[in-house]
Structure formats: structure tokens, C-alpha cells
Symmetry: C2
Subunit: 194 residues, 2 copies
């Protein structure tokens, strides 16, 4: 909706940085456009004109994260790829801005409304499916994308949200269990599991 | 902090009901003590005196849910117990107040702070461990509590938060996969997995 670059890009960056700082330091009750204005040094009127509401602003922060998700590893071994990927998920849930982004995602859940998968999740799933497809072409026994999400990603997010984020070693354990399950059923049984 | 029963209990109930209605109908930006007062018909001053902040009020709603969690099934078969339990989790994530409570739990996450497991989760885990212990005493091959949480509960919550809540049939599929994993390693290998 705005031309990229120049003043517009600087304003967006300052405002996003302020939102992440506030998500980290303040209770959700305190999040507000006036406070974002104060922390970012951008005029309230500018923020209201560009984003409209605090809620729309949070969505924009989430979308920017989506656009900047790193590409996945391609080591030539599915186990290595998955270890690197799961360690990166665990690490991002332990530090950096992802827990804050996750919090913004959840703040934007509107109960009773049909969810729209965030662009970040859609793109990440596309990349993971590609990783699995390439592994299958190499003749490896592969899990389905659903299995990968349920057995590795879901527990990491569950722990990060409701108890304590897990270590990279714990993430590796989840990957190894997934691959054990796949190994038990052999390379030709993948289709039967979905 | 307040004596139970009488006017105090009626006020608490009216205020909690109003919070759940607002969590369902409004954006988090709109949640406020004045709005709770308006919807519940309880004076703002009373709410401030009793709970202090909107955040403390949300915590109280979560704690009441915790105290009222239903007891778990005891059918004499772990598979049946787990099917009933997982179906109940899936159902509660599809309708009722649990998605709203879950939203309140996440609103109360303070990034960077060490998490304290909610009393609801602690009590539920205690009950699940008891279910597993009783099954093991009957000579069944049982998963660890960690496996149950990671392979059944975590995916159900993950889907409910980030995509779509799953059906009872999907919950049953998660239970069956868990028990397949346990069956593959046999009844004496439980300890090796934790």
C-alpha cells in the first residue's frame, strides 16, 4: 500500500522495532498506538494513517517476518536437514523475536472466526514439502509433512507457549523419533500413513 | 482472598462470564475493565478493588477453569481411556470456552520471564500420569506422560492455535499412532524412551 524505500521504509522499520520492543517489555494491556508512537518517535497520526489500528500493525509485523523466513538446509541427508531445521526452530523459540511474533500471531486469533493460515506458515510448509520430496527422490524413507509438523514442530511450539522452550538437543530427539517411526514402517509404506 | 458464596460469588461469576463473552466477541485491544463493568453490570470500582488489573482478572478466569477441569475416564483399557480423553480435548478446542481460556493463557505469557506452568496444566498432568500408572499396573504397554503430551496433546493445541481445530476422529488417529509406537517397542522398553 506504500512505496518501498526511503522515508516510508524507515518509518515502517522504526515502528516495527518499537512494536517488538513493546511486545517484549510490556503487558498486552499496555500495547497501544500512542505508546508505539512514543517509543518509535513516529507521529501517532502517521501510524493511524498507515496502519489504522494496533491490530493491523501487529499483522504487518507478522507478515514482514513471513517475508524474511530463511531458506531451509540442503545437506543431501534428510536426517541432517531435519536436525538443522529443528534446531533452528528451537533456537528461534528460545531467543530472538520469534516468541514475540508468535505472541502477536496469537493476539490476532479471533475465536469463532475461520482461521487463515499465516503466510509465514504457508511458505514454510512449501519449503518443508520440497525438502521431503528431494529426500524421497534420493531414495530415503521420508515422513509426510503432516508427521513432521505433528511430531517435531507442534511439540516445540507447545512447550514454548505453555511451559519452557526446548533446547536444540531436545529438538534432535524429536527428529530422531520421527525418523525411527518412518524406519519401522519401511520406505514403501509412506502413503499408508497419511 | 474473598469469602466464597453470596454476593461475592455472584459478582465473580458475572464478571467471569463477561470476560468470556468479551474474549469471544472483541479484539484484545478492546478488553478493558470499563468494558467488563459495562457487560457484567458490576461497578468498575468493585472490579478494580477485587482484581486490580485486566491482566489479574484474566488469570483468575484461567484459575477457575483449572479448578473445574473434569476428571478423566477409567474404562479399564488404556486405548479407550485415551480415545475418550483425546476426543474431549479436541471437542473442547472446537467449541465451548476453552479456546477463549487458551487465548487468555497466551495473553498472560510474558516473554523473557520464566514460565510458571498454569495450575490447570499441572493438575491435568497429575491425572494423566495416574491414568498411565493404573494402565501399567494392569500390565498394558504404556507411553510416558511426555510421549502422550508430545504426540497427542501438542498437535491438537498446535492445530487449534495456528490452523483449524481437529475433529474427534483426528484425535483418535493421534492416540492410535502413539499406541503403535509403544507396541513396537514392547512392554519392557518404556524406560528407555524417556
Amino acid at each position: 500500500m506504500q512505496r518501498p524505500g526511503g522515508r516510508s521504509a524507515r518509518v515502517r522499520s522504526a515502528v516495527h522495532t518499537a512494536v517488538l520492543e513493546l511486545l517484549e517489555a510490556r503487558s498486552w494491556e499496555e500495547l497501544s498506538v500512542p505508546l508505539v508512537a512514543e517509543v518509535s518517535g513516529v507521529h501517532q497520526a502517521t501510524i493511524y494513517r498507515r496502519w489504522g489500528t494496533m491490530s493491523a500493525l501487529l499483522n504487518d509485523v507478522v507478515n514482514e517476518w513471513s517475508a524474511s523466513t530463511a531458506s531451509l538446509p540442503r545437506t543431501g541427508s534428510l536426517r541432517d536437514d531435519l536436525h538443522i531445521y529443528a534446531a533452528a526452530v528451537a533456537k528461534s523459540l528460545r531467543d530472538g523475536n520469534v516468541p514475540l511474533i508468535l505472541r502477536a500471531v496469537v493476539l490476532e486469533i479471533h475465536p469463532g472466526e475461520r482461521r487463515k493460515a499465516s503466510p509465514a506458515f504457508v511458505e514454510r510448509e512449501r519449503q518443508l514439502q520440497l525438502m521431503l520430496d528431494q529426500s524421497e527422490e534420493r531414495g530415503e524413507a521420508v515422513p509426510t509433512l503432516t508427521e513432521l509438523l505433528e511430531l517435531v514442530v507442534a511439540p516445540l511450539y507447545f512447550y514454548a507457549l505453555f511451559t519452557e522452550p526446548r533446547t536444540e538437543a531436545e529438538a534432535a530427539r524429536l527428529v530422531d523419533r520421527l525418523l525411527d517411526i518412518v524406519a519401522h514402517r519401511g520406505p514403501d509404506a509412506t502413503a499408508a500413513s497419511s
